[in-house]
């Protein structure tokens, strides 16, 4: 974490945002439920951070701004695309954002690499389920129809899959961490 009182340079801003790309995008995804739109919004936020008349003293202020801006852009995207999504209460979203800005966050590159490795060991039908749901953006009912299984089974399989991937990712990250080095 950058702990200086000098305004962050553009390179520091960019580096921090890239390290937090998945988490900020994930916060947007919670709002828009579309991974591609979430990615676009993250990029917009990054551009704003570099081009708007705004300065940041440290990572915390940058991330706080980024999460709030990303959420607003997400809500704006929903409005523009006339999507109706049952959203969480604003105060709950704020709690989530605070949680998500935890300084123990592992860099994006590491998490992405760990997930890739974990997916390689995941059965093909499970990877297909994830692709249909999150890359193709299908609702679970559409995935169920496509795979010829019922909706409840989709939820159960996704539940187990996310949990096993979480454990796998954490295992990979723990293994990769040098002994005696605490999370930053």
């Amino acid at each position: 974490m950058v702990q200086t009182q000098m305004p962050m340079s553009e390179s520091q801003i960019l580096q921090t945002l890239m390290n937090w790309r998945s988490r900020v995008s994930a916060a947007v995804w919670i709002v828009v439920r579309d991974a591609h739109a979430a990615e676009d919004i993250f990029q917009n936020v990054a551009l704003k951070a570099l081009t708007k008349d705004v300065t940041f003293d440290n990572d915390a202020s940058l991330l706080s701004w980024a999460f709030i801006t990303a959420r607003r852009e997400g809500l704006d995207w929903l409005h523009r695309h006339r999507r109706e999504v049952v959203s969480l209460r604003a105060e709950l979203l704020e709690i989530l954002e605070r949680d998500w800005q935890s300084p123990s966050h592992t860099s994006d590159e590491s998490r992405l690499g760990a997930l890739e490795t974990c997916l390689e060991a995941t059965p093909e039908d499970s990877r297909r389920l994830l692709k249909l749901r999150y890359f193709d953006g299908l609702a679970c009912q559409e995935v169920a129809t496509k795979l010829g299984i019922n909706l409840d089974t989709i939820y159960k399989r996704l539940s187990r899959l996310h949990e096993s991937l979480r454990q796998c990712i954490e295992g990979k990250l723990a293994t990769a961490k040098p002994p005696g080095v605490a999370a930053q």
Binding site: E10, A26, R33, A46, L92, L115, H162
Partner: protein, 468 residues
């Protein structure tokens, strides 16, 4: 505090928009009171965006990652999104660079450097043309030799040099008068427009559609062996070290051989090859043929990869070399490529039912991708298509003969953003190049000894053999 399976399913239902009204209150209570539930919600969301990222990379290496994006492609908004992301990333990089930043992010885990670039483009000269199409690795040098490898569609350029670095590189430029030029594959083009368009093709393939030029100011194109004057037409040029082949689709183009000053007017549907010391005969464009076989034994000309001559024990081979797609710098493909053309320059047209047979060797069995470039009869770029054979079709340390039926080729993901203007299938189009690659996280020893295009109907094909 933990989160159990039913609570996880409740979160998934919420994210799916499938929550029943009576489930809303338990959901909010769960999230307010249970940190583990909030963590799991975040975990789902992060996995969702990372899965999309990984799929995009896999699709994007098409583009050779573009190889990444191959094959079972459903051209959802994905491509547009990917493109926008690339544009935005480029913008970020450029903005950062304009401010004097040289940003380098190095992953300690993977030892991958990203993004790479370097100097901002100069803004002093007025732009003369706009980028209308690009894919594959390209390097742009503007005034003063400033180098930019992050380009985006819509960027206005003031003149300079563009270099295609791989068989799947493509760069299309529209001048402000509507004229357009495109380079494909490993090519290098310098251009300017100071009242008169002047281009220098130092090697490779260029096709152009030129709007009528001002009186006395034709477009000039220089190669190492010829000078070409264009008043308004469609044509294609293949420039090699000692020869220039010009194929004219519409209008008339004047070509002058530099070695002796001889000039020939090339009318529509004609071609001429100007060599340093050979003939310069005007010929009508030949009828299309539908079969072709590579001739690697004749040398590495117009190939991409490591070429090895034939020996008493083995035929000439072309081996894949490492290639990092610009769309995804964390991926290393192993790629090779070759021009698809015949010694007599007859256009090679693929038909429904045509198939490519690739013969070669792998040291590690893995998925093998094979792609082709196609153009329309007038030389206009029509698309890049590719096909994949799964690892189960290959064996370690073994020779292979892989068949890629044309019916199984899909539009290469790296040109998805232009799918509305490109052909939906390669049927009936002229194939000008081919490439193959593996995407296995390391070398797979992919090498080929021969590529053959087989016509669906032997009567339609021909027995002539081509050259690289």
């Amino acid at each position: 505090m933990n989160v159990n399976d039913s609570q996880r399913q409740l979160l998934l239902k919420y994210l799916d928009g499938h929550l029943q009204p009576e489930e809303e209150k338990p959901l909010h209570e769960l999230l307010e009171s249970n940190v583990a539930a909030r963590d799991f919600l975040r975990e789902i969301a992060e996995q969702a965006v990372m899965v999309a990222d990984i799929e995009r990379m896999a699709a994007g290496s098409c583009e050779v990652v573009a190889g990444d994006h191959f094959i079972t492609v459903d051209a959802r908004p994905v491509r547009n999104t990917w493109l926008r992301r690339q544009l935005a990333l480029s913008a970020i990089v450029i903005v950062a660079l304009v401010s004097g930043l040289i940003y380098q992010h190095v992953s300690a885990d993977r030892q991958v450097a990203m993004p790479s670039v370097i100097y901002p483009p100069p803004v002093s000269d007025p732009p003369v043309a706009r980028i209308t199409g690009l894919s594959g690795p390209l390097i742009w040098r503007g005034d003063g030799g400033h180098v930019v490898s992050e380009l985006s569609i819509g960027t206005e350029l003031a003149g300079g040099t563009i270099e295609g670095m791989a068989p799947d590189s493509l760069f299309e430029l529209a001048f402000h008068d509507g004229s357009s030029v495109m380079i494909a594959g490993v090519s290098m083009l310098t251009f300017s427009d100071l009242g008169q368009k002047e281009l220098r093709l130092n090697g490779g393939n260029l096709s152009a559609s030129v709007a009528p030029q001002p009186e006395g100011k034709p477009m000039l194109i220089h190669t190492r062996s010829a000078a070409i004057r264009v008043l308004g037409t469609r044509f294609e040029i293949d420039a090699e070290l000692d020869s220039t082949a010009l194929h004219v689709s519409e209008g008339t183009v004047e070509v002058r051989r530099l070695s002796d000053g001889r000039t020939v007017d090339v009318p529509a549907k004609h071609r001429v090859v100007a060599t340093v010391d050979g003939g310069m005969q005007l010929e009508p464009t030949l009828d299309a043929v539908h079969d072709w076989k590579s001739q690697l034994q004749f040398g590495p000309e117009n190939t991409y990869g490591k070429w090895t001559p034939a020996s008493s024990e083995s035929p000439a081979t072309l081996k894949a070399i490492p290639f990092v797609p610009k769309e995804n710098t964390s991926v290393t493909l192993h790629m090779l490529g070759l021009a698809v053309k015949r010694a007599d320059n007859a256009p090679i047209v693929v038909l429904p039912g045509s198939r490519f047979v690739v013969r070669g060797r792998l040291t590690t069995a893995t998925d093998v991708y094979f792609g082709i470039w196609v153009v329309r009869p007038n030389g206009e770029f029509a698309g890049k298509f590719r096909c994949r054979r799964l690892a189960t079709n290959f064996r370690d340390e073994s020779q292979f003969e892989a068949v890629f039926p044309l019916d199984e080729f899909g539009l290469d993901p790296c040109v998805w953003d232009r799918k509305d203007e490109l052909a939906s299938k390669p049927d009936g189009l002229v194939v000008t190049g081919a490439w193959s690659f593996t995407h296995a996280g390391g070398p797979t020893g992919l090498e080929i000894t021969e590529v053959e295009l087989i016509s669906p109907d032997p009567v339609l094909g021909s027995t002539k053999v081509g050259s690289q």
